[in-house]
């Protein structure tokens, strides 16, 4: 599963850098979709690492669970998810996200994925 998250983040980078053929205006949003999917993988696996099965729960519940078990990076995960969700969605009141903004969140998710690997590593 972890490899999926990594590949999704790599794909997001490629989209942002323009090496995937997409209209320029669409890149940020697709990158956000990919990064958010990667983040969701990480959340599910982090929950599993804490011994919690969240397969049937919504993302909101999963993030709340992580906060509840006091995972040190739960707050950051939640914030990254909300921001990426905002970037994915054609929300009322919001325009297409700026590529720089999405790039920042992709980097954040990669950072979080690294932390997760550290947590799991010794176990």
């Amino acid at each position: 599963m972890m490899s999926d998250a990594v590949r999704l983040l790599e794909a997001a980078d490629r989209v942002l850098s323009g090496s995937v053929e997409l209209p320029r205006g669409r890149r940020a949003r697709i990158a956000a979709v990919l990064a958010r999917s990667a983040l969701e993988d990480i959340v599910v696996e982090t929950c599993a690492a804490h011994g919690i099965d969240v397969a049937e729960a919504t993302m909101r519940v999963r993030l709340a669970t992580l906060v509840a078990v006091s995972d040190p990076r739960a707050g950051e995960l939640a914030m990254a998810w909300w921001n990426l969700s905002r970037a994915c969605h054609q929300h009322a009141y919001e325009m297409a996200p700026h590529p720089d903004e999405v790039a920042y969140w992709v980097a954040t998710v990669r950072d979080l994925a690294g932390d997760f690997a550290l947590i799991r590593g010794p176990a």
Binding site: L22, R24, R26, S37, M95
Partner: protein, 766 residues
């Protein structure tokens, strides 16, 4: 019928629509970027995030058309902006090209070339070019400078905010120029001046009269006295004054007439007198000679002889009865007759001499006429020698020329009178001229007064009309102004009514008041039915809406040569309800005008979609290196699906990316379609926004959202609907489970199924 004639007369100006805006190296745009617009009535929403370069397009239009920028001029500390007008990434070329479609002319280009040497945009090279014509670099090649100022088809957020925050007289000015109200003010000014200038002649005349009366009072001239008398009247007889001044009229009595008479006095010369006297003496001498014979004896003898002759003729020859010696016969009769004839002749000569003598005496006496009236008439100021002449004249007149010494005495009297008269004549003439010299300047003054009075009378007559007009205009100026303002005020209220939505502020009268330095626009409003000044009770967003309400009518007046309005970020401070109202207003204006709205968020595009307003939506995106792109915004559902196809077609994207990204994009496509359908229907029913939003948020799954779109109920039963076509259930699986777990089937087929689902939901929801 008169209506039809009127509309024929008012020719609509040739209209211009925006066709494209091309910008390079300016503000947020680096490499050349182009915004294509459809040059026809309709609404175009250009959406882009802050910093996307969208506002650069509107600033470019402003700079190219007006050669200035509200932003530089409105903000005192705009030096940062001034320094930053050139793009940081690409600054060469730095240019702006605006294409405008002009009715009946074709595509006209308005351009600004801001070469690297240009310090500020206003120093750039500006030109315009109409089809088939050379580039025109003159100051106002299209004649748009005035209309741009008048109608201001470019409205930015800053400017809208500034309109109502500026001084009251400024808003007045802006409205009044557009309404042609300056003409009323100009008319008032002209009337004020006219009335003032019409009172001047009377004032001048009064001053002249006072001065003239002072001058006249110092003069003894009867004409001066007469003029003075005339001028003391309330309304002097100008005609008499004028005649007095020109000499066409003189007072009946007076020194001047006497002086003139004196100067014309006539006396016989000494020679004439002497001749007359010589003639007299000759006649007297002749008479004396003739009468030296005993005149009576001569007469008696003739009578006796005639009797005797008569007697002899009757009685015949006889002895003389007197002497008795002689005989009175025929011879005697003949001799007597001879003697009688001789005697008669002598008597005749004597008579003649007497007559001649008498005649010469009469002539002599009549040589000197009786003393003239002028010598004795009363004078205000006597002339020297007059009394002496009068005396001498009287003395000469009193001499009896028939007396023996008469002629001699008379000659002596005349001889002494003549030089006196000559002297008096000269003196009188000199005096007359002296007085004439004194009168001439006075006469000129009187003539000037007469002219001035005439002018004053004429001015007074005109002033009556002018004053009446002046006071009428004063009383009715505001009425006239507001009559002109009414269509704009009505439209502004209509726009406000659309924009206010849930605002409790009701817009009342919009009126122009006061004059000169106290001119202002009053906007009355009522809050929940209570009267209040609009500007004090309105929120920032409401003020913007009000400014928009006032200035959209101005920008879209029939007289404007611009068939477009370019509005930059009108929704910034508006609440969502107002955005809906704005969308409706723009839709209405878009029926007859090209409306280009730039917006930094998606509220307006969203409202446009939700309200079913026909509008083109363009998205502006800016990426690294200030590369700005404009993409046409199809509906978001379609865009998600296109994105999904793009991912499916990317050969280099690996399978995991495909499996994970495609279902998410598909799900977003379905949700977006469902949301539009659901919300449009609920808003159309008049549901409140908060309720609608909450209802949507409560629905979590894709199926629940489809159910909302189709059944108005998140838990509505979809089984039968899903069963109608297998693709629907397959698509639901893609956007449901697969969006979480990853797509397990061929991506393109899955996307097509989702496309079908979207189409069916849209068809079913109608």
């Amino acid at each position: 019928m008169p209506q039809a004639k009127l509309s024929q007369k008012i020719k609509q100006p040739v209209g211009a629509y925006l066709k494209s805006i091309t910008v390079a190296g300016f503000r947020g745009i680096g490499p050349e970027a182009r915004l294509d617009l459809h040059p026809a009535p309709g609404v175009v929403v250009v959406a882009g995030r802050n910093g996307s370069g969208k506002s650069t397009f509107s600033e470019a239009v402003e700079v190219a058309l007006t050669r200035r920028s509200y932003r530089w001029e409105a903000k005192k500390g705009a030096s940062d902006w001034r320094a930053g007008w050139r793009n940081l990434h690409v600054d060469d070329p730095c240019q702006i090209r605006i294409e405008l479609a002009e009715e009946g002319i074709g595509t006209t280009t308005v351009a600004a070339d801001l070469g690297t040497a240009t310090k500020e945009p206003r120093d750039g090279v500006f030109w315009a070019q109409r089809p088939g014509k050379p580039r025109d670099r003159s100051a106002d090649p299209l004649g748009w400078a005035k209309p741009l100022e008048l109608y201001r088809p470019l409205l930015s957020y800053d400017e809208l905010g500034g309109i109502l925050e500026s001084r009251p007289s400024e808003l007045y000015e802006k409205l009044s120029t557009i309404l042609g109200l300056a003409r009323i003010a100009a008319a008032q000014e002209r009337l004020d001046e006219l009335v003032k200038s019409l009172t001047a002649p009377r004032r001048e005349a009064r001053a002249l009269v006072t001065k003239a009366r002072d001058a006249l009072a110092a003069s003894a001239d009867p004409r001066a006295v007469e003029a003075s008398k005339l001028l003391s009247a309330r309304s002097p007889d100008i005609e008499v004054l004028a005649r007095l001044a020109t000499g066409a009229f003189e007072p009946p009595s007076g020194d001047m007439a006497i002086l003139r008479e004196l100067a014309a006095l006539a006396v016989p010369t000494v020679e004439q007198s002497r001749d007359a006297i010589t003639r007299c003496e000759t006649a007297q001498h002749t008479l004396a000679e003739l009468s030296s014979d005993a005149t009576q004896a001569l007469v008696n003898r003739t009578g006796l002889l005639k009797h005797a002759v008569a007697h002899v003729e009757a009685a015949g020859t006889q002895k003389c009865p007197l002497c008795g010696v002689g005989t009175l016969d025929a011879a005697w009769v003949a001799s007597a007759r001879r003697e009688i004839s001789e005697l008669d002749q002598r008597a005749e000569s004597l008579r003649n001499a007497r007559r001649a003598y008498e005649e010469s005496i009469r002539r002599l006496a009549s040589m000197l006429p009786p003393s003239p009236r002028a010598l004795g008439a009363e004078m205000d100021e006597d002339v020297e020698g007059r009394a002496k002449v009068a005396e001498a004249w009287q003395a000469a007149n009193s001499i009896d020329a028939a007396s023996p010494e008469g002629p001699r005495f008379l000659l002596a009297a005349i001889e002494s009178l003549v030089p006196l008269v000559v002297e008096l004549k000269t003196a009188a003439d000199a005096e007359r001229l002296r007085r004439e010299d004194l009168w001439t300047p006075l006469a000129r003054q009187v003539a000037a007064v007469a002219t001035a009075l005439e002018k004053a009378d004429e001015a007074d007559r005109q002033a009556v009309t002018a004053r009446a007009t002046q006071s009428w205009l004063k009383d009715h100026a505001n009425e006239l102004r507001n009559e002109r303002l009414r269509p704009i005020a009505d439209e502004a209220r209509e726009i406000w009514a659309a924009l206010r939505q849930e605002s409790n502020v009701d817009l009342g009268e919009i009126e122009l008041e006061g004059a000169k330095t106290r001119r202002r626009v009053t906007v009355t409003a009522s809050v929940d039915g209570k009267e209040a000044g609009a500007l004090t009770v309105m929120s920032q967003g409401e003020l913007h809406a009000l400014a928009l309400a006032l200035f959209l009518p101005r920008a879209t007046m029939d007289a404007s040569p611009f068939r477009f309005v370019l509005i930059d970020d009108p929704v910034q401070a508006m609440d969502p309800a107002k955005v809906d109202g704005l969308a409706r207003v723009l839709d209405r204006i878009g029926q007859t005008r090209q409306v280009v709205v730039l917006t930094h968020d998606d509220r307006l595009p969203e409202a446009v979609r939700r309200l079913g307003i026909k509008a083109r939506i363009l998205y502006v995106n800016r990426s690294e290196g200030s590369r700005v792109e404009v993409t046409s915004g199809s509906d978001p559902t379609q865009r998600y699906l296109e994105d999904a196809f793009a991912v499916a077609q990317d050969r280099r994207a690996d399978d995991v990316v495909r499996r994970r990204a495609i279902p998410v994009l598909c799900r977003m496509a379905v949700e977006s379609a469902c949301k539009d359908l659901f919300m449009a229907r609920w808003y159309a029913r008049g549901e409140r926004r908060a309720v609608v939003e909450a209802k949507w948020q409560d629905a979590q799954t894709a199926q629940q959202r489809i159910a909302l779109a189709l059944r108005d109920d998140a838990d509505g039963d979809l089984d039968r609907w899903l069963a109608e076509r297998p693709a629907r259930r397959r698509a639901l699986a893609v956007v449901g489970r697969a969006s979480h777990e990853g797509l397990q089937r061929d991506p393109r087929g899955a996307i097509r199924d989702v496309e079908d689902l979207v189409r069916d939901v849209r068809a079913g929801a109608r």
